[in-house]
Every structure is written in structure tokens, then in C-alpha cells.
Symmetry: C2
Subunit: 523 residues, 2 copies
């Protein structure tokens, strides 16, 4: 469908969004905590023991599994991204599907990475009609250039889980890369040569897809334990493969502490804010993303807590060696881990029972009966842009190109205090703007913006403003920081040359449509 035929409406964030996305009616964003869902959850077909009489679901190869699962044109096929840039399954899967002559699929990964660039040929040829999921790198560029047949739909981790449970996305077949599995289909990511940690990104897929295929390079006798992160009772077929992923490639540049003096200053300022604003206390719960600044924040916070003799209760998130060191050093009671970002995290999850494996359901699903993010006292995140109304962007750059996914970023906005720790400019492009290119989080959920030129508190957070009055923190108005940076960079970034074709939409955590992403004419 060309966007010329799309009906567009203005949502309460002031953004034009389509009323239909890939043929499905959608609801425009109505404001934070304003959209109340009605109706009932997705209801998978009732299965029967008759079809799985001996519990042994091994089939000779992936092709056989796909055939048994009734692979057909137009289906939705899902995969997980726990291997991040080390995923080897998805490319093989779609190469095989192409060989089988099947077309017009919706690929529904939890995220894509540069390693998935070979998918472009399947998008070009029509094997994949479109992708709904985070598009990091080349596939994001492809989509931004207007080349994808359908529309990209970017959802947060919690939003993806919600979309499956609410029935917004019906998965026909999910294929789960499992570092260890048994013939019944119980599987986990903790053991085996390809261990990747949690498998939570596949949890909803396993529970709600019509058909579930587990592929593994470490088949063990029943029961695959501990633990079964994916329950065999949901699984149709199990396939052995040589290798299901390259865990060494999970780690990337963004999962190491920054060495940039500016970025270290930002991280230190953020940690000082936590102390000065009275957020710090014994039993603190916090999350920090995987970016270099966020990791440096964890390091600074750790030191402050040690100085003051305080321990954390939980660190939630994508987990790295830094958080593991805190657990092992008795600086926190628990790690709550939805995604292992390095080998240290994977190993520690195996060894320490206080390193808890979770899925996005527990941490992030907005349509469950609350979630664990509301227990977080403070969360530090990155952003590509933020504007003077504290609206924030995490998927497009100021040139309009959509090169990043949302991850857990939107979901984290419901912590007690959410801080964006960002440099005030990148490549001489100001990061604080009058209006963000794409709204991924409405300003009312962003509490503090920390830059190397000072920090700005959202005027809505009078409590934080009051708490930090008289502190030595470099508190400034966000407009002031913006102006200073524009003077330094020679003005605001040029407006990108965008077409009128909507190439993707940004869903809010509740499934409403928050913003549209447009084709970039020149890139």
C-alpha cells in the first residue's frame, strides 16, 4: 500500500500517523496512561496430546519442520535476537524458505542487526514482504530509503510482548535458536557451546504462535534443566543444527565503558544527581542501558554506594560484567536479566542463583497487571535527540535515517526517575532540538536530561527540582543548553529532505501509534 492512499490523523503528541498499518486498523497515541484497552487476549488454538503421543518432537532438519508446520505464503515468521550480531539462524532460515519457494512473509524478529544485511535480497525478491521489529543498521537504512514493500513497525521489547498477547500480531511459526534443548522442546540459553543467557524474547512467541520450532546445537535427554526457559509443552518440532549462534558477537562496542572525558563527565553528573536528589538509598533498584555512558554511570554509582555503605536490591536490564561484579562483590542482592550483553553475564547466570533470568513480560509488558519497571528508582538511558519539551528520539538521527531499534527504552520510561544521559552534540550536530525528528517517548515521561554542559530537569518533576535546590549540580534550563550548543555548532541541524511516504511507525508501549518515520530522499 502506498502511503499516498493512507489516511493520516494527528495524535495527541501532535504527530501525523496512519490509521492503518500493513492493513491493520491502529489507534493513534492518546497520551501517557490514557488508552485503556478493551477486549480479550489472543487465544491460540487448542492442541492435543494425540498429535504428540510420545513427546519426542525431533525431526531430521529445518525444512521438514517447516513443512510439518505448514509453512505457506503470507505467513508471519518470528525469531529472537539474543545472539544480537552473532545470530546465524535467521539468514539460514530465510535462505531455506526462499529455496522452498515461499513468498510474501512478514518477518517478526525481536530485533535485527548488521549481520542480517543478507535479508535485503529476500526483501527485494518478495520472500519477505516486510519486517516488524527493531531495525539496527542496514535494514533500517533499507527501510528509510523507502525500499521495503510493507511498513516497518517499531515496538519496544515490552510492546512486542504485548502485541503478541493482545493479538495485534499473530505469529504462524516461530523458530527459536536454543543453545540447549531436549527432544520434548524444553530449552534454555544458559548451557552449551552457544550459550547466550536468557531466551525471554522468544517466550511470548512460544506461547502464542500456532507452531513452534526449536533448533539447537546441544541436544540433551529430557529434561533440559536447569531451567526450561521455553517450555516444551508449547513446542511442535525440535531440529538439531551444527551451530545456532555466535555468542562472542553478542558483545559490541556499545557494551564497554566509555573513555571519552565528555561522556565520563555526563555519567558522573548523572550519578551525582542520584545522590543529590535523594534517590540513593539502601536497597536501591536501578537499570542502566548498554551504552558507554550508561555503563560508566553504573561504575560511578557503584563507587558512590560503596563510599556510603549502601547496597542495591536489584539491577535490572541487559546485564554486563559491571553488574556481575556488583553481584559478586555483594553490592546488590539481585540481577534481573532479560538479555546478556557479554560472556561474564552468561557465565554468572549459570552460577549464581541471584542472577535472575526474566522475559519482557516481567519487566516491561504494559498490558500485564503492572510490571517490574515501576520498582526501579532510577534508570539511565541514551537517545539520538531530545527536544525542549523533553520529547525524545532513539530510532532516527537528525538526517532522518532510522538506524536503531527501541529495545527496552520506552518501557524504562516508567521508572521512578528516568534520565537521558547524552552528549549535547555529535559530529557537530546538536542533540537538543526544538522538535525531535521522531518522537519515541513523549516529554512527560522523561525526567532529567544530562549533558556535559549541565543537566535539565523536566519542569513537571517539581519534586526533583525541589530536592536538588541548593545542590552543586550544574542544573540549567534545557533551552539554555540548546542555545549554547547551537552557537557552538553553528546553528541547529538542517532539516533532512524527507519524502511523504511513511516507511515505518513507532508504537507506544500500549500499542497506539506515536509517530511516523518518513522516507529519506537523499542518504
Amino acid at each position: 500500500m502506498s502511503s499516498n492512499k493512507l489516511k493520516m490523523v494527528k495524535n495527541v503528541a501532535g504527530r501525523l500517523v496512519p490509521t492503518k498499518v500493513n492493513g491493520r486498523e491502529v489507534i493513534p497515541f492518546k497520551g501517557v496512561h490514557q488508552y485503556r484497552p478493551t477486549g480479550r487476549r489472543a487465544a491460540p488454538p487448542i492442541s492435543t496430546f494425540i498429535d504428540y503421543p510420545d513427546g519426542n518432537k525431533l525431526v531430521p532438519d529445518l525444512r521438514t519442520a517447516l513443512e510439518r508446520c505448514g509453512l505457506a505464503d503470507g505467513m508471519t515468521i518470528s525469531t529472537h535476537h539474543h545472539f544480537r550480531d552473532g545470530d546465524v539462524l535467521a539468514n539460514q532460515l530465510f535462505d531455506l524458505i526462499a529455496e522452498m519457494g515461499v513468498k510474501n512473509l512478514r518477518w517478526f524478529p525481536s530485533a535485527t542487526f548488521p549481520c542480517h544485511a543478507p535479508m535485503i535480497k529476500h526483501l527485494d525478491s518478495g520472500v519477505i514482504h516486510h519486517i516488524e521489529g527493531s531495525l539496527n543498521g542496514p535494514l533500517g537504512l533499507y527501510c528509510s530509503q523507502g525500499k521495503m514493500k510493507g511498513m516497518g513497525v517499531l515496538r519496544s521489547h515490552g510492546g512486542r510482548y504485548r502485541a503478541i498477547r493482545d493479538g495485534d500480531v499473530h505469529i504462524d511459526i516461530t523458530v527459536i535458536a536454543a543453545p540447549t534443548a531436549d527432544p520434548f522442546g524444553n530449552c534454555n540459553g544458559m548451557h552449551g557451546a552457544s550459550a547466550c543467557g536468557p531466551l525471554g524474547f522468544s517466550e511470548a512467541d512460544s506461547m502464542y504462535a500456532d507452531k513452534v520450532i526449536v533448533v539447537t546445537d546441544n541436544l540433551v535427554p529430557m529434561p533440559c534443566y536447569p531451567p526450561w526457559q521455553i517450555e516444551g509443552n508449547y513446542v511442535d518440532c525440535v531440529v538439531e543444527m551444527d551451530k545456532v549462534g555466535t555468542p562472542e558477537k553478542i558483545l559490541s562496542g556499545t557494551t564497554e565503558i566509555t573513555r571519552s572525558p565528555n561522556q565520563l563527565l555526563i555519567a558522573e553528573t548523572a550519578s551525582q544527581f542520584v545522590r543529590e536528589a535523594g534517590i540513593l538509598h539502601d536497597g536501591l533498584n536501578f537499570q542502566a542501558g548498554a551504552g558507554g555512558i550508561s555503563l560508566a554511570f553504573v561504575d560511578f554509582l557503584h563507587k558512590i554506594m560503596a563510599e556510603e555503605g549502601l547496597r542495591a536490591r536489584c539491577i535490572i536490564g541487559g546485564i554486563t560484567r559491571l553488574a556481575v561484579d556488583m553481584l559478586e562483590g555483594n553490592a546488590t542482592d539481585y540481577l534481573i536479566d532479560g538479555q546478556a550483553f557479554d560472556q561474564a553475564a552468561i557465565e554468572n547466570m549459570r552460577e549464581n542463583s541471584r542472577h535472575i533470568c526474566i522475559s519482557p513480560f516481567h519487566s516491561y509488558d504494559y498490558h500485564s497487571k503492572g510490571n517490574q519497571i515501576s520498582f526501579m528508582d532510577v534508570i539511565v538511558l541514551g537517545a539520538t535527540e531530545v527536544d525542549v519539551n523533553f520529547n525524545a528520539n532513539v530510532v532516527t538521527h537528525s538526517d532522518g535515517l532510522m538506524l536503531h531499534g527501541i529495545g527496552g527504552w520506552q518501557n524504562c520510561m516508567f521508572a521512578q526517575c528516568t534520565m537521558l544521559a547524552i552528549p549535547s552534540f555529535r559530529n557537530r550536530m546538536p542533540v537538543i532540538r526544538d522538535e525531535v525528528t521522531t518522537i519515541c517517548a513523549p516529554g512527560e515521561v522523561v525526567d532529567v536530561v544530562v549533558t556535559e554542559r549541565g543537566l535539565a530537569i523536566n519542569p513537571r518533576r517539581e519534586d526533583l527540582i525541589e530536592a536538588t535546590k541548593g545542590s552543586k549540580l550544574p542544573i540549567r534550563k534545557i533551552e539554555e543548553i540548546k542555545q549554547e550548543v547551537e552557537e557552538l555548532c553553528g546553528g541547529p541541524p538542517e532539516r533532512p529532505e524527507l519524502g511523504d511516504k511513511v516507511v515505518a511507525v513507532i508504537e507506544w508501549v500500549d500499542g497506539t501509534v506515536l509517530d511516523s518515520v518518513y522516507q529519506v530522499k537523499k542518504s
Copy 2:
């Protein structure tokens, strides 16, 4: 509804069963593996974070929780039976509900025990309209006497889980007694003064009930871990109480090894059968119920395996000290535990990560994609009666009184070899009959009947007959054993004097109706 108005049909087991049970259309039993379900699973209403903004679900007391959950006349209220005869919650709950003036409820426990005799007043007064669930002891007697307003529905553990998932039973409010919980509602049965082991009997209730109340006597800060057996994301309210159960009363006479020479002979014969029939091998998977004979069987089997230098892979079931000793003595790789039958099991589950906590979903749900029972090489169970066609009864006695629940008994019939290990008579009443009073398992799923007068192999199991040819096992025809016992006891049991009122039905694992239980005129 009086059974006079019921339309009765004959099912393929030759039994007359009603076409409607408590107002719901039901399907008569169609044969083992013959009923193929259509349609989709139950779909709970979509909830939203808006109603649980800070994740803290603590309310002052149970009355407040029930009010918030909208308790009203005619609702279905469920509870679990992990405390068995040590349950203290259900009586308090219904006393409170009676005080609140609410009537006409369906109580949907996973099982009831003698401790629930006080519920009779609530059945008499109309607070509880009827109970669907296993009725062990006084409530079974009450039902058998035709005093319950609605019909009893007896389901296996797996059948109950299935009924919830398939939407046969819609739970309005479930109240979960939790030995440890956090304010978000994550809870487990493994820790705290009232630790009872698994909480799996509440798992489906938590996932599918409209409203979920957790009561605990051990409130801990988020996160209640390890593990969260019930996920807080499903929970509406958390209530603190002084005591949620008396774990010392979990243990009962039926969870100790028999000392009766006859019963020991039965158990030894069963264990010899496992060896002689070629079932025994390294990596054996088996289950044994909690009765004295079954436990003695475990003990004999353990010795045989030790003699032959064999180890088990898994022991599944209700777990006792005997199984724990095998795990700790390295005689099995894993225990798969759905229900702790003594303190040793509870303690070991906390301490040994190879002692796996499961729900009836994993082990028993017939409408999932297979279940773990099909991996069991052999299972030994009890029965109240068995007939010459190998049909078996576990709920009524030969006097017609329904005094027992089904438990996992029906579900276990899908093991590779199912043995009933039973005395040939009890109180001078023959246990082997021409026709059982109530069919709880059709003859084709019962493989071997072992008595102190020899064992009978189901003629359908030609493989087992062949395998044991020439062995020293006391193999006989079932009719022969029956005749010998009748001669000894002075003839078959008298037919009980039954009314024509159907007081309860027996569901098969797939939800079809296998048999009717009739009012007993004299008892």
C-alpha cells in the same frame, strides 16, 4: 437441577452420562485418543499498567481484596491444595465470604481434604452452590449423600489445568496461599515458615482467572526469588495473614512405606516385573504415587537398580523422602516435583537445583503439545477397584461412596507402562470385579494389575506378555485372580443401593465425561 430432568446418553465406555453438567453442555467420552478438540483457548481480559501504576498491590486485608476484585453472587472462586490436610485458608475465606453475604458460589479447589469439613455449613446455607474438584473424605460423603445443590465434577490434575486453559471453567477470583510473596505478587512455596514446596496447582488459576489474590505470611521485598512460581504480572492484590497453612499436616499415613507383608509382596512383585519385562535400563524414568505400596515399590526398585549399577534419569510425581534419598544418593539425575508430600521434599527442593518444581501443565495437560508423562517408562498407582476388562476406579468404593479424588492418576495412564498395585481384597471385599462401580480409567490404558496373588497383564499389551514369557513372575489371568478372591471372600461385593440422582461426574483427561456417580441411599 434435579437429575430427573437430565438427559443421559451412553458413552463409548458403556456408561450413562449427562449431556449437561451444572448448566454446561458436555461431551460424552469418545474413547482414548478419540476426541479431537476444536476452537481456541480461553482468552482473559486485557489488563493495563494504568491500574497497577506503582506495582505495589498490598491491601490491608482479605475482605478489602475481595471487594476490590468485585466478589459477587454466582462467581467461581478457586484455591489450591498444596497444604493438603493442613490448608487453613479456604475455611477462613468462605467464612469471610459468608459474612459478606455473598451466595451461590462455585468453589473450584484443586482438591479438598478432611480439614474442609466446615465447608458443609456453607454448602447447606447456599454460600457455596457446589464444588468442582476432588472431594477427599467428608465432602465426598456429603456429595454422595445427594446433599450438594450442584453436581460434583471430578477432574485429574491435568484435566483441571486443561479445563481452565480450554475455557471449560472460568475462574472469577483465585485466592493463592503463598508461603513467600513480594508486594508485586511474585510468590513461591519454597521459603518461609509455611513452606509447602511447589505452587503449581495455582499456576493456571493465576494465568486465567479474572482476578488473582495472593495471601502470604512471609512478605519479602521485590523480588521474591528464587523462584517466582506464580508471576506477579498476573496478580491483582497481595494480603498479609498470620498463617497461610500448616505444612506439618501435608504428611499423612498414605505417604509412608507400608509394613503389611501382603502389600510388601505386591510392591516387590511390581519391581520384579519392571526387571523381567525389560523395562529397567540406565536412565529409567518413573513415577510412583504416595500410597504405601507405591512407596515400597520405589524402595524395591531402588535396591534392584543399585544391584545392577543403574541410575534413573527422572523420578516424577508427588515427592517424598524416598525419592529425595535417591537424588541425594546419586541414584537419579532429577526429581520432577509437582507436589511435596513431606518436609524432606520441601527442604530438598530449596537446596538441590536438580529437584525441579513443575506444574500440572508440564507433566499432565492433555491439551498441550504433549506432556512429560509420555517420557515415563513405568508408573505404579493404586485403585479402589479394577474389573476384568482392566477398567479401573479410584474415586468410589464398592459401597458407592465417593471418598477420593483423581489426582494425577488418570494422567499417569499415558506412561509407557502403567501398573496398578493393589491388594486383591480389602475388608473382605474383593477389589477385582466384573464391572467397576465407577470407571475412572478405561481398561485399554491399564497395562498390568499386580496383587499379592499374582499379576495380570492386559491382553492388549502383547509386547509385555511376550517379554515376560518364561519368567518366574506369578503371571495369571485377571479372571482367575478374581475367582480365587471371590471364593475366599464369599462372593463378589453386594451391589450398593444407589439412587438415580447423578451427584457427580468423572471427566476424562480430555474433558469428555467418562462416568456418572450416583447418590448412595444408605451410608
